[in-house]
Subunit: 397 residues, 2 copies
């Protein structure tokens, strides 16, 4: 039903081309997951409440033209239809769409969709091939299942905030919403694993991802530390608990980061610093000793670094093969030659200059898209989606 | 070749059952990705350098029995074989394994495997169905492609550290290694998308995921903020840039977090605080105004919170449906009733009591495993893997 040439921003040749995702999710965790699926080639039909739409349409920051730049970054390329889940006519459309979908994604509180007759039990009986994906704060089971959660709640409860920040300092949240994003990323894997399973068994699945569980799954170092020491680790600034030097260091005109935990890299760093003797000092002679004596080691390193600016050291460290880098702000990162070369942040079509990150998966050398597809206005694709729902069109893209 | 009953920790009924993953990766990003694939049911053959093995086998923290608890948490359930990639006999085994694998995962610096005749170009010619997955610091293309990166380097260069921490404070790294883990999670999705594509086309793919790009992809709020304001956002402690109140707050005996950005939740919070008038104050009357006046709002809220302990407020907030939670340390999180009920942290078989987080994806109500499979000693599965490589066994699990 489309012109033979793929429209700008089309992912018809992406690995998930042909899969249809019905997206009932709102705000961040669900929409980020369906953004990934869209970027990988799936068609995503975003079902929104009439008039208001996804509440993230009204979230800060707001662009000069009045739309939410936050919403735009995460929802480009989706097809929007406004449907009232409690209205009989709209429900018939939704039921048609469910029948045509491979995947349905939702992030309501557990139980909400059951009451509307849209729970997994009801739908799987009628649509056994459907992959039904539920992201929630605490999961579909357990004593907290009906509690709502937002990012900072799971960052706090998981222990993630207890290991982020500085010793004795105020509570610190990771600056991005990794509570939502980790759940979104795990769900994207969970959905695809269910699709691979369906290819074998013919049956869909209910995929249950909890933001809380997802955050705990990221504690790759802290949980082993507690096991070994018997004490919960605390925040350690920019350091790593298991490697040193692996931290931010002050040079002549600012900070840089250096990651030289192995004996080999530590020797290369010592050579760059003109402190070859560093590797002979008994307190720094093994990885474990460098971690134990990290404060003394940092003082010695910063004494040398103070003598030259950051740019000098980064050049030297790069030549020596020592992993290091500048502490970029977001604007500096966006001008970075590597970011430009890979095209990590294409402009959004019709986005008045707004750029957004791609889903960072390059397949077989196919570059990231030069432009991201447009952001749907609320209900923008109503007619096309109705035709698709009724079986009058075979595809939306 | 196994007893008909699945052994403890077997994932033979997981969604990726039957897929074979050849894992040449080391340390964290690659191994975390293959841990996810294993937890989802795939067979993972871990190829390690002789004698030393994956260098993470020697990483802190070290358990009382002398093994790395860090390594254990990420490598449980994999099958290990030691192979010297430069030895002719070992290379024949590796070539046999490649021929039998669906997926190969590696995180060497770009170019290293090409020099050994194990690059994507060489292998895809002989094995067109192979999904070849490469995680690197900066990707397979661009001016930085041959640079090494560790977690703190991409957290710094991406701008993630520029938005994490407190205004005017020292540089702060997220306490977990999200530089590695985000790349691992994107790669897990990338691999599965390539497998789904292969089911349609019969052809494998080269999947290229860069830690740097993956970190940029997590800046869901900061990049839109720069677009709208023209200035790079800075660190804001435990706050959220687009919602308030959404922060850590001090109560009578410690901190808690509250996420009540919407008008509805803000009204519920005001009611819990016994400050119904809060919603009538003009400076707090909209979401945007609450964000603009967040410091004043925090002071008002903390004045009320100071009058009772954390536990009091958490009970009240839960009853009112306001998302909130305690700032748990890792030990407290591990005792949480929800964590116990879902079984998020099962013991590792043979792990002397060590627990590790599951891959947080529940499929169709199948609970997380009650026990995680054992951690392989270096080269522990040599004989079985050699039989599998030679075609004398059809499966390893």
């Amino acid at each position: 039903m489309q012109a033979p040439a793929a429209p700008a921003g089309s992912q018809q040749d992406g690995p998930l081309a042909g899969f249809v995702v019905l997206d009932l999710s709102r705000v961040l965790s669900g929409p980020y997951c369906t953004m990934m699926l869209r970027d990988l080639g799936a068609t995503v039909i975003k079902v929104e409440q009439p008039l208001v739409g996804d509440e993230a349409r009204h979230f800060l920051p707001i662009a000069p033209d009045g739309r939410s730049a936050y919403f735009a970054a995460i929802n480009r390329g989706k097809k929007s239809i406004a449907l009232d889940l409690k209205d009989e006519t709209d429900r018939r459309v939704l039921d048609q769409l469910i029948a045509r979908a491979d995947v349905m994604v939702e992030n309501f509180r557990p139980g909400v969709l059951d009451k509307l007759g849209l729970g997994h039990a009801a739908l799987s009986a009628r649509h056994p091939r459907l992959v039904y994906a539920s992201i929630s704060g605490f999961g579909q089971t357990g004593p907290y299942r009906t509690r709502a959660a937002y990012d900072v709640v799971v960052q706090a409860m998981s222990g993630m905030m207890s290991i982020t920040g500085h010793p004795g300092g105020a509570p610190t949240r990771t600056g991005s919403s990794i509570g939502d994003l980790a759940a979104a990323m795990f769900m994207c894997s969970g959905i695809q694993s269910a699709l691979l399973q369906r290819a074998r068994t013919g049956l869909g699945a209910h995929v249950d991802v909890a933001m809380f569980d997802a955050q705990i799954a990221l504690l790759e170092g802290a949980i082993p530390e507690l096991f070994c020491s018997g004490a919960s680790p605390g925040p350690i600034g920019a350091r790593h608990s298991g490697a040193a030097p692996f931290d931010a260091f002050r040079a002549g005109d600012g900070h840089l980061v250096i990651a030289a935990g192995s004996d080999h890299l530590f020797a290369a760093l010592a050579s760059v610093l003109g402190s070859a003797g560093l590797t002979d000092m008994p307190q720094f002679s093994t990885r474990a000793l460098r971690v134990a004596n990290h404060a003394e080691l940092k003082a010695v390193i910063e004494q040398r670094l103070a003598q030259q600016p950051v740019a000098h050291w980064l050049g030297q460290l790069e030549r020596a093969g020592v992993p290091a880098g500048p502490l970029n702000d977001v604007a500096t990162m966006m001008r970075d030659p590597q970011v430009a070369s890979r095209g990590v942040l294409p402009p959004i079509e019709g986005g008045a200059g707004q750029r957004a990150p791609v889903t960072p998966i390059v397949l077989s050398g196919r570059p990231y898209p030069a432009q991201l597809p447009p952001v749907p206005a609320l209900d923008a694709h109503r007619e096309a989606i109705l035709r698709f729902a009724a079986g009058e069109a075979t595809a939306l893209d």
